[in-house]
Symmetry: C2
Subunit: 328 residues, 2 copies
């Protein structure tokens, strides 16, 4: 364990998150493709449509980097790959279900599975992906399974809490942080913790859990910012989708606290929506949101000082930093 006041020196020249675990990810992709098979062609088609639609594989890349950065070797690499893929399956299942709940018709610049295949098939395809994830990591040790299951429970709780706060001008920053801890960070938390434990680095597992939390929070904050800033080609969906749906995103939460004119515009359409978007793009809203994400990135980087220096650790640092760059 390093000193937590230590400075993290990162070799930006050599560190590359995707390259560092490229071989592991190739095996993961093969496994993933296999798991999307079904005796029902429609199920396989929907799952492939979503899973192969240009997802960044951020979650499995993250899990595999944590595994390697924690010193994970060949002994449990298959398990680490399974954990990484299970995370992608669970994430994909929630995307399918989220688009149904929000009637989202565009995802990653293409028609959503919901728009293309309809409610019933896309709902069932989500259940299928959950079951596949369960099949995959259900064979891990009790504690790891419990960690994964609890992340799934938190995902649903985050979703319901978010629904409860829609179009609610009273929403606080504390509410917001609780929602995104559950709906986004919980899965990163579980993935990082499981990866550390599979790597045999139990002592580092709590720090890796904190890494997952901070990384997940930063990721979601930037996602929320991008929803307001766009452009559409970059975010793969219409600008302001969260705002239109009345979702208490970070700019919305910061905005309503600052400008009471926003209260009446939450979830508005037409000119009200345009006006809301304009108010949410106020420089101090954007700056404050960005600062909050940067703060989480710093916390995430800090946890890395608990690990021995390695190219994997540097690649993790770069992966984390990239989350903030992607908005600039």
């Amino acid at each position: 364990m390093g000193n937590s006041k230590q400075i993290l020196a990162v070799d930006h020249g050599r560190a590359n998150p995707a390259l560092a675990v490229a071989a592991e990810m190739r095996r993961g992709e093969d496994k993933l493709a296999e798991l999307l098979n079904s005796r029902e062609a429609l199920l396989a088609e929907i799952c492939r449509y979503l899973v192969n639609a240009g997802g960044k594989r951020l979650r499995p890349t993250f899990v595999l980097l944590v595994y390697r950065a924690c010193g994970g070797g060949e002994a449990r690499l298959d398990d680490a790959i399974d954990a990484a893929i299970a995370m992608e399956l669970i994430h994909s299942a929630t995307l399918l279900h989220d688009d149904i709940i929000d009637a989202g018709t565009v995802r990653r610049g293409k028609p959503s599975a919901f728009a293309l295949y309809g409610l019933g098939p896309s709902l069932v395809a989500g259940d299928f992906l959950f079951a596949r994830a369960f099949e995959l990591c259900g064979r891990f040790e009790d504690e790891l399974v419990r960690t994964a299951a609890q992340a799934c429970i938190q995902l649903t709780e985050g979703e319901v809490m978010e629904g409860r706060l829609r179009r609610n001008a009273q929403v606080t920053l504390e509410d917001y942080l609780r929602v995104i801890s559950r709906k986004t960070a919980s899965l990163f938390h579980a993935g990082a913790k499981v990866a550390a434990q599979l790597a045999g680095a139990s002592a580092a597992a709590p720090a890796m859990g904190r890494l997952g939390d901070a990384f997940g929070l930063a990721f979601q904050m930037i996602d929320d910012l991008l929803d307001v800033l766009g452009p559409e080609e970059k975010i793969g969906k219409p600008v302001g989708s969260d705002v239109r749906a009345g979702i208490p995103s970070l700019p919305v939460v910061l905005g309503v606290a600052r400008d009471s004119r926003l209260s009446g515009l939450l979830g508005a359409d037409g000119p009200g929506f345009e006006r809301a978007l304009e108010l949410l793009r106020a420089p101090d809203v954007i700056e404050r949101a960005r600062a909050m994400a940067v703060e989480q990135v710093a916390i995430a980087r800090e946890t890395l000082t608990e690990l021995k220096p390695s190219l994997y650790r540097d690649s993790l640092a770069v992966l984390i930093e990239e989350q903030v760059y992607r908005e600039l």
Copy 2:
């Protein structure tokens, strides 16, 4: 292992499925109530509304009877109770999702969770119940987890296959059997197999799997018959709901093969629906459907001869027979 030509003598006077495992079920109910808790009050409310809405607890009763009939003692009783409860959780999750897919507004004589709480919350509540089931039985041995996960995968495949065959006058009896094997029997199959293995009766596990299949098929066939026969007070939903939704139920499949007038009436509303219901109530359709269920009951009973005689075995026999009686 008994001789499969053996005659099953059942003490109908003493055998009572609910009483035989009453103490186990009480513990199961406590566990179930605990698992429905959530930090999000709405989630807990939806789950309680569904799970406590007069369900018969057929699946957990079945699993616990199989466990005891296979000689399961106190050593793994907690695990058997967890397996039983996991089955009820998975079943409940599918009910929540099915009502969304079919826009079903009535369930067990009351408004469905979908009608009462809306699409988003009831969809997420279903995911929550799946995650709880995963949490519960994810800690079993690899093989048992795989059995459970594969049942969940089959559930989704059965649902999609059924969707594919809706309002399809070409549907065959073979298609029908494949659909209900997946969407209904798979969970009974998995539950019975897991129960036998937890009881330490691995040799009986294949027979118990067959028991689950036959029992599940008989149960679904009678359910399909009841949809056509009613009355509404008995089935807890409008008579002919399956017919109206165009679901290829057993009477529908037998009916279209026999009477070409039905082809144009599948999924009809108004007078067409009434006419379809009338044609589906033709005595030879009803008789044939009933005979098919009775045949499965006989197969299920036959598998019981592989177990040592016991009050639990007799209670299982009674539970199976009751499935056919409930239609008379």
